[in-house]
Amino acid sequence: MSAIVAEAVSKTYRSGVRALREVSLSVERGEIFGLLGPNGAGKTTLVKVLLDIVRPSRGRTALLGTSSRQTASRQRVGYLPEDHRFPDYHTAESALLFYAGLSGLSPRAARPRAAALLAEVGLADSTHSKVRGFSKGMKQRLGLAQALIADPEVLFLDEPTDGIDPVGRAHVRTLLEAERAKGRTIFLNSHLLSEVEQLCDRVGILRDGELVRVGTIEQLTQSERTLQVTLSQPAGDALLGELSRAFGPATAAGERGVEIALERDEQIDAVIDFLRARGLGVRGLAQKRQSLEAVFLASLREGER
């Protein structure tokens, strides 16, 4: 049973904006899934549909095997909305107890957990301070604690590190890794590609409400067949010219490196034979990775064409 399932979800807001088009997606238990997309791509809308905050125009969603339309589906779910606002009459602790109560926890059960979480997100000193006096980052930290208060199986985080300083970000990352270690499923919306790259097992790219790419980071970044060969000696222009003619565009990379864009994987054998035949030693061979950023930008450009 997948932790998160979306089947052909479409959402057209009453204003006429088509925020999601036929999005199908499934996230397994224990996975960290990152959803990328430019502003207005529909990332937040998708999370809200999964949580039944927004009702889909078409399609079906389920959390932990229960349809999102049922209240019970949110029993073991935590959510950190973007731009969340806490009622400012709460203190950090009372806010956590309030949300824990809504998830069915008694104050007595929730109090120790609230204290532990506040310490984890670095708000231990502000336990009894009113939320109205919190800075943006402090509110974000409290939001994270709020999402974790009911010990959720599935976590939805909409830009969790927004407004948090670099030290805090690293801290949040550790926190999420600890959650993954506990077998939690995490659904992460983010603009921060480096963050996604470091954390996520799988990534989806949303463009204009369409899910254009899904896969592990390796799958996404490997998609281009560029072979990196390290030679025993520097390659001259003549060699590059010959390689280009025989296989595909070849360029020098560094002192003794050559990059060749291939059309098929089988060509790798031919390249090695070609080099050995000219008495050149092969010292290293690697398939070149694209950065996630390049993949992201490329998939957005595809849409413009």
Binding site: P81, L97, F98
Partner: protein
């Protein structure tokens, strides 16, 4: 259950955060302190009896069931003997303790006839009958023409008049020698209900007033009704309505409602619990205030009367019926000012409708007005705060006065059907809450 408690606690925390609730609490303390500062001087029954005999032709007419002024209902000249203990020749039934006797001699039996007619119409008005007919004094002649008035009617009116002054039981003997002379035996079983015999002091004795046309029991009943009506029913509603009207629009703010919707609590429950939280808060507030008044009065004067606590329910019911209007508008517009304005307007409208309907019923506005069906329909639908205010007065009268006195003073057969008034008010509340829930449940947030 935990979710419900969490939301209720949240409502209370939200309320405690508002400054105006503390102002209201402070005012409440002043009211409680006022009750604690009251004291009453003991009753002089003979003075009350003399006064009742001398003011047979005057009656305190209640206005809006709260304040009353003495007005002359009939011209009566009577000479009153000094009150005395009963004698065997008075022939009063045995076994009545503390009976005091006063002898009356009227200047003219015709004046007793007049008193009889006037008093009957006053009594009928108190029962809510014949208000239309009573305008312009027309009914007196009509009544007089209907039935002949004899010694039995004289005896009846005198008995009734002394009862009205708080004496019980009352026995009137006709003098066999003169139709103008009467011997009245007046019991003082209920000293607190004797009119004109009590002095009240407040602010711990700093001020004092003689209660000339009130008994102590009536005074307290009306004072407490005033607290329920003016403080809880007016200032309280005003403050609480404008305070709680902000709650829903604020709750539904982007980024704040999401936090709740992601929890395993349905939207209908969220709204319902929020509503119940507010209603429970108000109920607690009024219960505390009224208990405070009751205890303060009980401790300082020794009169333990608990009826006021019951008024917490009716006062809360009024709030519970008007608040959802603010909720509905708040949910639809997400605008705090509009929400509280809507609540206040619903409250005002409901008051106007009830007043208009009362004017029509009593004939002060032409009964055949073509607006009557509209007003009747609106009356049916809207909450009935005036009716519930009257219920308070009735409950308090029953609490402080003996049943027959309460019935006599506050109307033997109340014109309002309490179950109808309370039931339709609750229905209105339920309908508004349902609409709000539907609205919130169907939307994207």
């Amino acid at each position: 259950m935990n979710a419900f408690l969490a939301l209720v606690r949240d409502v209370w925390r939200e309320s405690r955060d508002k400054r105006v609730i503390w102002v209201l609490g402070l005012l409440g303390l002043v009211v409680v302190a006022f009750f604690g500062s009251l004291s009453f001087t003991p009753v002089d029954a003979d003075a009350a009896l003399r006064r009742a005999a001398q003011t047979l032709g005057e009656q305190r007419m209640r206005q809006g069931m709260f304040v009353g002024t003495m007005s002359r209902i009939s011209a009566v000249r009577v000479s009153v003997a000094e009150p005395r203990a009963p004698r065997p020749e008075d022939d009063f039934p045995l076994g009545i303790d503390g009976l005091r006797v006063v002898e009356l001699e009227f200047a003219d039996t015709g004046e007793v006839d007049g008193l009889y007619v006037a008093w009957r119409s006053v009594e009928r008005m108190a029962r809510g009958e014949g208000r239309a007919a009573s305008r312009g004094g027309a009914p007196s002649e009509a009544d007089a023409a209907q039935a002949p008035i004899g010694p039995e009617e004289h005896r009846a009116v005198l008995e009734s008049r002394f009862r009205a002054a708080g004496f019980a039981p009352v026995v009137v003997r006709l003098d066999p020698d003169s139709p103008r002379r009467f011997v009245v035996g007046a019991g003082v079983e209920r000293p607190l209900e004797l009119r004109g015999a009590c002095e009240v002091s407040w602010c711990f004795g700093a001020f004092s007033t003689a209660l000339e046309d009130h008994s102590q029991a009536e005074f307290l009943a009306e004072l407490q009704a005033g607290v329920a009506e003016r403080f809880a029913g007016f200032i309280g509603i005003l403050v609480l309505l404008s305070m709680f009207a902000a709650a829903l629009p604020e709750l539904l703010q982007k980024g704040r409602f999401d936090l709740l919707l992601a929890r395993p609590v349905g939207r209908v429950r969220l709204i319902l619990f929020k509503y119940l939280g507010a209603v429970l808060f108000v109920l607690l507030l009024w219960t505390l205030l009224f208990c405070g008044c009751v205890v303060a009065l009980g401790v300082t004067t020794g009169f333990w009367k608990f009826g006021l606590i019951g008024c917490a329910l009716t006062c809360t019911l009024v709030f519970a019926a008007i608040y959802p209007v603010a909720m509905l508008v708040g949910a639809a517009t997400r605008h705090v000012t509009l929400a509280s304005l809507a609540g206040l307007m619903a409250w005002g409208l409901e008051g106007i409708v009830q007043t208009l309907r009362m004017l029509i019923e009593s004939g002060q506005v032409d009964r055949a007005t073509r607006w009557k069906p509209v007003i009747d329909a609106a009356y049916w639908i809207l909450p009935k705060s005036s009716d519930l205010t009257r219920l308070n007065q009735w409950m308090l009268a029953r609490d402080h006065l003996a049943a027959d006195s309460a019935a006599r003073i506050y109307g033997a057969a109340p014109t309002v059907d309490w179950w109808f008034a309370g039931g339709t008010t609750a229905l209105f509340a339920a309908a508004m809450v349902t609409l709000t829930c539907l609205f919130v449940a169907r939307r994207d947030w």
